[in-house]
Subunit: 236 residues, 2 copies
């Protein structure tokens, strides 16, 4: 936690003082080892970032006087369309995507996604948000990415995706593609990433007919957890 | 496992036939669901890659006739000097570094590395090699990276690092650096990455006096697991 993410409910009436009593208190007590007078990095969920001066810190509560003076880092102009990974990986990759500043995440079904993955409790709204918040706290950001769950590949790609890609460069990561992944984009992008084992040819064809360009990171096949930061870092 | 990594011991006398009876057999049976006549991607540890034609596959053994006709993917001309992460992360990041094709890995102590991390059994040679092999199998590579364990920061940086960085561009990832991480290098590099919380100023100074240039990926602080693929993908 490199930034304490504050909620509107944390603020005491009339002023800039917050009181925190949950896991964030535990973290500040045990990991950060802060004490009275210390200045901690804080940010308001969906709002600005700044510093909080500790005015009280004990087993009961952390109280800070907060100044929010700067905008959070810019989001990447990126919609990431990711084949739903297995549940354990899902949690980590949600944090990673949130840390990296992805603006919109679509979790999509595809042929090689196991049906059971859609049943995981980790897809509940609260659990998804929890991971995204951890990612924001890591990256010192305050703005949650939008997350869409799309358990049907074909209707999503045919009916909804054309609207989402409008005005963006649509790319699909495909290890056997001839085109290398472009570098240093200055325009918005939509990036589709398949499951372990990749999209099947039918899915690639459907994406291509929606305007997607297959691009490759090279001969090496990376796990989705390594591919996501590697691709994003290449693009922006 | 996108490639079955073969050992010299797998080969039957006089010929190109291998017999496999360990976890690789289990994987081919349960995950790949291969059968007789199938061609599987194979590679010889430290050698070439190619295909193996399944001539026997049952609960006892997998036998293949092997043709090794191509060189494995090139290594990245990169020495990665990584502050020792906590054990759980260590295992994953060894796989990731191996998949990405890092040529040499130095696991280094630094001020913010917990002493206890050096006691983990995951640092045993066999366990390190196991993770590196999993990374190679993921990336369809055969060549293990070299791994050096250096539990003393100062003597390593003063006495050994100058020799290692010779002929390379030495960079240290440092979130507050003014210089952005360079892109698309065409020469060898040495990249130092600090622990969660970063190198302390004394360590940065010592690295700078060894010729390292502090570079940043931007405002966002990434976990080491996201930073490693992001930095490498930016550099090469």
């Amino acid at each position: 936690m490199n930034l304490i993410l504050l909620l509107k409910e944390d603020f005491l009436p009339f002023g800039d003082r917050v009181r925190i009593t949950d896991r964030r208190l535990k973290h500040v007590l045990s990991v950060q080892g802060a004490s009275r007078g210390d200045e901690l990095a804080v940010g308001l969920l969906g709002g600005r970032i700044g510093t909080g001066t500790v005015v009280r810190l004990d087993g009961e509560a952390l109280e800070m006087d907060v100044r929010l003076e700067r905008d959070p880092p810019q989001k990447l102009p990126l919609t990431l369309v990711l084949s739903l990974p297995r549940p354990k990986v899902l949690r980590r990759i949600l944090r990673t995507m949130s840390s990296l500043g992805v603006e919109r995440i679509v979790l999509l079904n595809s042929f090689r996604v196991e049906k059971s993955y859609w049943q995981t409790p980790f897809l509940n709204e609260a659990q998804v948000k929890e991971q995204l918040v951890l990612g924001l706290e890591q990256a010192k950001d305050t703005v949650l990415p939008e997350v869409l769950l799309r358990p049907l590949f074909k209707p999503f790609v045919e009916d909804e995706l054309p609207g989402l890609v409008r005005g963006t460069l649509p790319l699909v990561a495909h290890p056997s593609a001839a085109e290398p992944c472009p570098r240093g984009l200055t325009r918005p992008a939509t990036l589709a990433i398949g499951p372990e084992g990749g999209f099947i040819p039918y899915e690639i064809d459907l994406l291509v007919s929606c305007g997607f360009l297959p691009v490759s990171l090279g001969e090496r096949i990376l796990t989705v957890e390594a591919a996501v930061p590697a691709l994003i870092s290449k693009l922006f």
